[in-house]
Structures are given as structure tokens and as C-alpha cells.
């Protein structure tokens, strides 16, 4: 666990530990969201084999799994950008990820709803 700290960790000044920890918890919340998407992908695949023809189902679940992986990467990137902004007393970066995830989750919900209607 003795990896090198990134360069930006030596820039600016240490933020208040409460803000640092809030940022860390936000990172963890995004990580949990990523995990929930991964769990959702594999749950749909295993628990509802009849929801769509196998290739459609597998592609949908794979897309969800890839989104989960990308979200984990983005969680780290956001954490480091916000930590850097705090260290340099800059404004926090814009949270476009909130919009993107709203769209993704709404789209996933709509697709599942359509599939459920078609299966019946």
C-alpha cells in the first residue's frame, strides 16, 4: 500500500479534514452506485432469463456492467479533482456526472419497463 502520492498532493494547502472526509464519503457513495449498477446488471441477467431474447439481454447487461466500471473510474477522478480544487481554494468542478447518471438510470428504468411490458 506504499504507492506514491500524486504530485498535486504537495500543492496548495491541506483542506479542513471535514471537507476532505466529506469528499471521501462522496467518492464512496459513487463507488457504491457503481457497485449497485454492477449488481443490477448481473441480477437482471441471472434472475430474469425470460425478460428478452438472450443476445439482447446479454448486451444490455454488459452495457450496464461497463457503465459501472466507468463510473468507478470517474468516482476516483472526481475525488482527485475536488481535492485539488480544495487545496488550491478554487471553485469545485461542475457536477455533470449527476446529469449523466440521472439519464443513465432513467434510460435503464425505461428499457426494463418496456421489456417487462413486452414479456407479459
Amino acid at each position: 500500500m506504499k504507492l506514491r502520492e500524486p504530485q498535486w498532493r504537495r500543492e496548495g494547502e491541506m483542506p479542513d479534514y471535514r471537507f476532505s472526509m466529506a469528499n471521501e464519503r462522496t467518492f464512496l457513495a459513487w463507488i457504491r452506485t457503481a457497485m449497485a449498477i454492477l449488481a443490477g446488471a448481473i441480477a437482471v441477467d441471472q434472475l430474469t432469463p425470460q425478460i428478452a431474447p438472450a443476445p439482447v439481454r446479454i448486451v444490455l447487461c454488459l452495457v450496464l456492467a461497463v457503465i459501472g466500471a466507468l463510473l468507478a473510474v470517474e468516482a476516483y477522478r472526481r475525488w482527485s479533482l475536488q481535492e485539488q480544487a480544495m487545496r488550491n481554494k478554487r471553485e469545485l468542478p461542475h457536477a455533470w456526472l449527476l446529469v449523466a447518471m440521472t439519464v443513465v438510470v432513467a434510460a435503464a428504468g425505461a428499457v426494463v419497463a418496456v421489456l417487462i411490458l413486452l414479456v407479459r
Binding site: M1, K2, L3, R4, E5, P6, R9, M14, P15, D16, Y17, R18, F19, S20, M21, E24, R25, F27, L28, A29, I31, R32, A34, M35, A36, L38, A39, A41, I42, A43, D45, Q46, P49, I58, C61, L62, A65, V66, G68, A69, A72, V73, A75, Y76, W79, S80, M86, K89, L92
Partner: protein, 119 residues
Amino acid sequence: MTPRQDGGDETRDPGLQPERTSLAWRRTLLALLVSDFFIWRSWIASLARHAGRIEGSALGLGIAAAVAAAATTVLAGCVLYRSWALRSTTAAPASLLMTTTTSIIALAGATVIAIMLGR
């Protein structure tokens, strides 16, 4: 954004911040177990289908199950380390969060294998 400078602020909730953070880490570990359950379930089901003979999909799912177990172990290590480090309320090292992210990406890989080979 800016820390308030008035006196009482320093000790306002010294105990609760680390506690919330440590709980968030534990919650994250619990969330990982859900995916583990599905991946291991898929592996065990394929072992049962092949009735003792180890074939391609059982092997692949076995690897996925092992990767998921490794990701869980790594994250559990991160949770233990962080809970310990929080006692001195230091900021999280970047390497810890990078290790966490890596373990989730490994879990995503295991999930992809399980989706492609399952059933």
C-alpha cells in the same frame, strides 16, 4: 468552502466525522457482497450442471469467482486500514482510493465474465 475560524468550531464534531466516514467504508464493503453473491452463485450453478467435469464455462466462472473474492479481500483490507487510520483523523491517501477503484474495476471484469458465461 472556507473553514470557519471561530473558536468552538475546532471541536464541533471531532468524533462524528471519522465515524460517518468509517461507516461509509463498511457500507461500501457490504454493497460489494451483493455482486459477490451473484457471481459465486453463477459459478456454483455451472459446477452443478457439469456434474464434476470441469469445462470451459465452469473454469471461466471459477476465475470470475476468484477475482470477485480477491476484490472483496482487497476492499476489506482498505476498510480495515482506513478505520485504523481514521483514529488519527488524517486525510485518505490517494493510493487507498486508487486501490478501491481498481478492486471495483476487477469486480466489473468478473461481472462481465459471469454475464457472458452464465447459464
